[in-house]
């Protein structure tokens, strides 16, 4: 039986978020350095920032609803087979 704390799931998420931030910064750098100055570009950058903040704040709100100290035991207490799971 394998058991691990739920908070371990946050590690790959954190790694991905770091990757996202890094790539976004590089993208911003390219647009600011090489992009042609225009209102359209500023609007797109602002929209990207605001949508990113919205997705991240939504994620934080949803993730805060769970108890991250809980231990998952695969093959034990959290067997995911159950009847009617795919009933419409």
């Amino acid at each position: 039986m394998i058991s691990f704390p739920v908070w371990l799931l946050l590690i790959p998420f954190g790694i991905f978020v770091l990757f996202f931030i890094l790539y976004s910064i590089i993208n911003f750098f390219h647009l600011l350095r090489f992009g042609v100055r225009s209102k359209k570009l500023y609007i797109v950058m602002v929209v990207f920032l605001f949508a990113t903040i919205w997705i991240c704040s939504d994620a934080i709100t949803e993730l805060s609803n769970y108890n991250w100290d809980m231990i998952i035991r695969l093959g034990g207490s959290y067997d995911f087979k159950s009847s009617g799971l795919f009933d419409l």
Partner: protein, 183 residues
Amino acid sequence: MMDITKLPNKRPNEHLLLILRRHWIELFRIVAILAVLLIIPAVAIEMYSQTYSLWLESPAFGPFLIVLKNIYLLGLWLFAFIEFSDYYLDSWVVSNERVLNIEQHGLFHRITSELHLAQVEDVTAETQGPIQTIFNFGNVQVQTAAERAMFQFKNIPNPERVKQKILELVHEDKNRHGLADTE
């Protein structure tokens, strides 16, 4: 940021005439892909809403599902932004003296080249297929005799008009520099 009114290595009496970018349908393609990749899971969640709610309530599976969902959303969003940057950073600038070709390939590969109008030997406009015909966009190839023999303006709007404009500019430039053919 590049101020397009200030060309690099600007010559005396040089002024900007055309700034070209790929047709807006390229942006529409990015938006369409994004929409499809958002709608499909949304529809699936809606169809299995009871099951999804059950899974979300699970103290073990719920966090996993939320993490997966947010990785997916952020990944899609980043993909769309990178594609937009690729679209936006590709541009072609035509002045009364030269043509500048600026191409972005991914995030870490950028090619900038220029050719002077006096070097241009041939300009070809190409519109292929019903979509390009209906929306009036296509490719323009600018041919020279130099080592890099050709510039290609990809998927630009009004390729015929652009071709005509460049040919006019080439003719004027050659007249100005005394390089025009005499018959």
